[in-house]
Amino acid sequence: MTDSTAPTSTVAGAGRLLDYWTIVYKRTWKGSAISSFVNPLLYVLAMGVLLGDYIAGDPDQLDGATSYLAFIAPGLLAAQAMQTVFGEVTYPVMGMIKWQRTYFGMTASPLSVREVILGHLGFVMFRVALTCGVFVVVMAPFGVFATVWGAVLAFLAQLLVGLAFATPIYAFTAGLKDESAFALVFRLGMIPLFLFSGAFFPIQNVDPWLEAVARVTPLWHGVDLTRMLTLDTVDAGTALVHVVYLAVLAALGWVWAVRRLTKRMSF
């Protein structure tokens, strides 16, 4: 007989949740698999190919892209990472705290709050990797990637973009009393970010003050980083700023998430 034990590290503890998340995923993958394949295809066709037909492929106007399709493809990829995260760390997290109280079951075992968070975020990142991986594969035949390496790095960049959104929004959710704030999160947070962070048009096109606002949003950093990688127009200094910005956001979000959920669960 093996005795039950306390985990030796946070990562080891989170690893004990692997079977839980695997079972959850096996139960839900069908619904998400179809949308994660069809959605990018529809966006690329409608916006990139059909709408793009009306837009001159002028590299000077489009951050160096030779077609509108090549311009918006990386923007849509980063937006896909963001949207996946918004969906995964709002209602599902609240459900595990409040509706199903699954987290309370987990923390009654030797697992602690930070292990529960790490396990859940691990699952979220798996979902980001999957949807963005599919996106990259769907877009590749349209010739939007300048190099193969660019495609691989653009994919990896989405994990960073995803994490930069995942930890702070998770933290926000962890302290919420009920789900009423989520409607605002989506309408005033996600959708404006999606529309005005440089995914659909170069942010130099808007008023200087609006451009300044766009430049501090996390999605713009993600979009610009992804675009540099897909178009092979990487400027090392700028890319580093993007990476550091996103990494710092992810780290601050993590600290906040642990603090908020610990407070929520240890009454």
């Binding site: 007989m1 093996t2 005795d3 039950s4 034990t5 306390a6 985990p7 503890g13 004990r16 949740l17 692997l18 079977d19 839980y20 079972i23 959850v24 139960r27 199903q100 109280r101 699954t102 309370f104 079951g105 987990m106 923390t107 009654a108 075992s109 030797p110 697992l111 602690s112 669960m265 240890s266 009454f267």
Partner: protein, 304 residues
């Protein structure tokens, strides 16, 4: 197994637990009896090493929950008041994933899942979704889950609240078997019959403090009489009639719907009541229970 001294828990300015002393020994079934809001659940959450202690000393299996929470939780089983099962997973998956949280190998967990389903009589439901189970089945599943790590101490917070009488008896029967196997059981309840059935020793809690301690029998012997005669009169008459029978019993309690006469011989008391020309609508003679102890100690009934 569990030692508490001057244990306190506050939420802001509200003191839920106001300095309690408890010493639970290996192999015993220990009960916390009290009404809702007495501080039982807050105490249980501290003992389960999920709620920080506000003041006093608490040791579980000799360990301090402030520093050794995960080690403690690895060795105890917790059956919370509200089920925290995953409704969208099957019965056996719920147990399987839970066993994995304790760091047990998959093969070992699978064997234990089978054993435990057998133990709580849910083998046929192994592939059902939890949301399709009845309340009693969910409770048994939660109990099975709390046993997956073969705990040294099992904590049960209101194990049968909300269950119908039949389901309660099934749960009690399983808990009884665990007790016979030597598992140390700590439970909270606001049902006096449950406390009497399951606990060797118990404390009565009210407003965050312990008001009495002992075995169910000694508590009854110390704080109540052997028998109780219950007299029902018309609504609103009880208060006035209490004075007329005051001298027939050691003590008289006035409840909204009846009088309780505490006495050594209930039948004899009822006869004397009739001799005085009083005609209660109904009479009942019964043995004293923990409910009477509670009423005596706090002036209130357990379940309002």
């Amino acid at each position: 197994m569990i030692f508490a001294s001057g244990l306190r828990k506050s939420f802001g300015s509200f003191e839920a637990v106001r300095g309690i002393d408890v010493d639970v020994r290996r192999g015993e079934a220990f009960g916390f009896l009290g009404p809702n809001g007495a501080g039982k659940s807050s105490t249980m959450r501290m003992v389960a090493a999920v709620s920080p202690v506000t003041g006093g000393t608490l040791r579980i299996l000799g360990l301090d929950p402030a520093t050794d929470g995960p080690e403690i939780r690895a060795r105890i089983g917790v059956c919370p008041q509200e089920d925290t099962l995953d409704n969208e997973l099957t019965v056996s998956d719920n147990l399987f994933v839970y066993g994995r949280y304790f760091g047990l190998p998959r093969k070992e967990v699978r064997e234990r899942v089978e054993e435990l389903l057998e133990f709580v009589q849910l083998t046929e439901k192994a592939r059902s979704m939890v949301e399709d189970l009845s309340g009693g089945m969910k409770r048994r599943l939660t109990i099975a889950r709390s046993l997956i790590n073969r705990p040294e101490v099992l904590l049960l917070d209101e194990p049968t609240t909300g269950l119908d009488p039949q389901a309660r008896h099934v749960v009690w029967d399983r808990l009884f078997r665990l007790k016979q196997q030597g598992v140390t059981i700590v439970l909270t309840t606001h049902y006096m019959d449950e406390a009497e059935q399951l606990s060797d020793r118990l404390v009565v809690m009210d407003k965050g403090v312990i008001v009495a301690e002992g075995s169910p029998l000694t508590l009854i012997a110390e704080h109540s009489t052997r028998e109780v005669a219950e007299l029902r009169f018309g609504v609103g008459e009880h208060e006035a009639l209490a004075e007329k029978v005051q001298d027939l019993a050691d003590r008289v309690e006035v409840l909204p719907d009846r009088l309780l006469l505490y006495t050594a011989d209930g039948e004899e008391t009822v006869t004397k009541v009739h001799e005085r020309g009083l005609q209660p609508a109904a009479t009942l003679v019964r043995r004293s229970t923990l409910e009477d102890v509670f009423l005596r100690l706090t002036g209130r009934t357990l379940v309002d």
